[in-house]
């Protein structure tokens, strides 16, 4: 396993950001290959805290995390550099403002690769490739990241991680602030990267439609605990999601309402519009 959590707990020092939730006794394995994993749960359930343990941005208060062979324990060891772990596991924050700091988009994207001793010339090539991947054109490279719109900043921050080409990508709400078209483009991009490279991609999200449609595995956090780790299909077959402050995908909730209204014999577990329409027509046609 690429990342392995063993009984990991973390408490924030008292007096700091209270709305970030501590995590409690998390055990979890994440392979370096082959999975699209969603982490879901209401605000303050510990999702971001969990993610920040995946590349040693946070150190557990108890328990340990193995990341590509390095064991991360309670105390940060000043003699050890954890930098190489960030080449294995790349993390994109929810707010791109916390990540963008250079005067041009190009410099911003080149920063990560150059930090890992890639030459400026090669990093520039990577930046060029990454900016196109995230759906922007090369003219953006010369622009100041702070003059971009919210959606464009988001794309640039994702390009920065793609250029770094880590083994595992962890993205905190990569589609928030993107319009519907941008959202599906971004998810198609992650799916394509996953298919081409077989990397594991981990996404923190509140969007259950996206979870149902694109992800293989879903981890549910609730009050700092990991309470589910299963397939989206299995999760959305459960009846009590509202107790966890989770929504059902729109396809499921709308088809469920139709089923109840017309007493139809219909399979409500459809992932997209086309499949829902076919199933609905089959059910009403009978």
């Amino acid at each position: 396993m690429a990342i392995h959590f063993q009984h990991v707990s973390y408490q924030y020092p008292s007096g700091s950001y209270q709305f970030y939730q501590a995590i409690n006794d998390i055990s979890l394995s994440i392979p370096s290959q082959g999975e699209m994993i969603a982490i879901v749960g209401q605000t303050g359930s510990g999702k971001s805290t969990l993610a920040q343990h995946m590349n040693a941005l946070l150190f557990p208060s108890s328990g340990c995390v193995d990341i590509f062979g390095s064991t991360i324990r309670q105390k940060r060891d000043k003699k050890i550099s954890y930098n190489h772990l960030r080449k294995h596991v790349g993390l994109v924050f929810q707010f791109p403002e916390y990540q963008l700091f250079e005067e041009t988009v190009q410099k911003d994207i080149m920063f990560g690769p150059m930090n890992f001793k890639i030459s400026a010339a090669d990093a520039a090539v990577l930046a060029q490739k990454a900016i196109v991947q995230v759906g922007l054109d090369e003219t953006y490279l010369k622009r100041n990241p702070f003059n971009l719109s919210g959606g464009e900043k988001k794309r640039v921050s994702i390009a920065g991680i793609l250029a770094l080409d880590p083994d595992i990508l962890v993205l905190d709400e990569p589609t928030s602030g993107l319009d519907p078209k941008g959202k599906s483009q971004m998810m198609e991009l992650f799916t394509a990267i996953q298919k081409q490279t077989d990397k594991t991609i981990i996404i923190i999200t509140h969007d259950m439609d996206l979870v149902y449609r694109y992800m293989d595995r879903v981890i549910v956090m609730h009050e700092g605990r990991l309470i589910r780790d299963e397939s989206p299909d299995r999760l959305f077959h459960r009846k009590n999601l509202a107790e966890l402050h989770l929504d059902y995908p729109e396809t499921i909730s709308v088809l469920a309402a139709i089923k109840a209204q017309f007493s139809l014999d219909i399979d409500i577990y459809q992932k997209d519009m086309d499949a829902a329409l076919v199933e609905l027509r089959r059910a009403v046609g009978k």
């Binding site: 959606g151 729109e250 017309f262």
Partner: protein, 268 residues
């Protein structure tokens, strides 16, 4: 003349690529208008221009007959406030109390009255117990409520929400929107900048921007009946309306489901 009049507004950062092109828009007092558009359609730029944070290259914005200029901006900001997408970008105070006070301090409201107003409006948005807290310790939804309290305390009549719910989780988002509904019922004019159609469902009127121009402007129900408008402007209808649009009116069974979908959405 309407309470808000935007006339022939154009804007460009560089002088080359136009972000807004000849936008004209009239909004009445008490309306709830959603300004919808894809990323880069110019909707946030329009919001910033409407509160005087950006100066248009051409055109005018007027509130209650007064055109927004450097000289009138001070008075107009008492009429219109803006809540931003990332709540962290709008806090200036050390405590929630300082933050709500900030706008009033600029208006030189006497201290006694100011303290009363802080009490009143923090209570109104449900944040009175948090007055001594640092804004950074609040959740996203709480931060947005504090921002609203600060705006209301200035007796503002119009609030522009610039994707103000997009960083909140679905529950906090519904909560905030329900709160905005209450404000609108009390007479506050609400202008909501968004690309989320589920959010636009709460408005009465939709203004759809595409590539810096107004692509469509009208009553939401009449626009919802024309799915191609949303498709052509890179927006997405809620799943239930997309499904309704795909159903065949000529088949009685499908028509029944379609009517049911329309009815359920108009009840929400």
């Amino acid at each position: 003349m309407s309470y808000i009049e935007v006339k022939d507004l154009s804007f460009s950062y560089t002088g080359k690529r136009m972000i807004l092109k000849d936008i004209s828009l009239s909004i009445e007092k008490g309306e709830w208008v959603a300004i919808l558009g894809h990323n880069g359609s110019g909707k946030s730029t329009l919001a910033k221009a409407m509160v005087g944070l950006l100066e248009p290259n051409q055109g005018t914005i007027a509130y209650d007959g007064v055109v927004l200029t450097n000289d009138t901006a001070y008075d107009i900001r008492k009429k219109v406030g803006i809540v931003f997408q990332n709540p962290d970008n709008q806090f200036v105070g050390v405590t929630v109390r300082d933050d709500i006070a900030f706008g009033m301090e600029n208006l030189m409201v006497p201290q006694k009255q100011m303290l009363e107003m802080i009490d009143f409006y923090s209570e109104k948005v449900g944040m009175k117990d948090f007055l001594d807290k640092e804004p950074s310790t609040l959740s996203g939804g709480q931060k947005q409520r504090v921002a609203i309290a600060g705006i209301l305390a200035m007796q503002t009549q119009v609030i522009i929400f610039d994707e103000a719910t997009s960083m909140l989780d679905p529950y906090a988002r519904r909560d905030l929107i329900e709160y905005i509904q209450k404000l609108n019922q009390e007479g506050i004019t609400v202008i909501m900048i968004t690309h989320d159609i589920n959010e636009a469902m709460y408005a009465n009127r939709l203004v759809i921007l595409k590539d810096g121009t107004i692509f469509s402007d009208g009553d939401k129900w009449s626009l919802f009946k024309q799915p191609e408008i949303f498709e052509n402007s890179h927006l997405e209808l809620p799943f239930s309306l997309k499904l309704a649009a795909a159903l065949d009116d000529s088949l009685p069974e499908e028509k029944a489901v379609k009517d049911f979908l329309w009815q359920s959405i108009s009840n929400t």
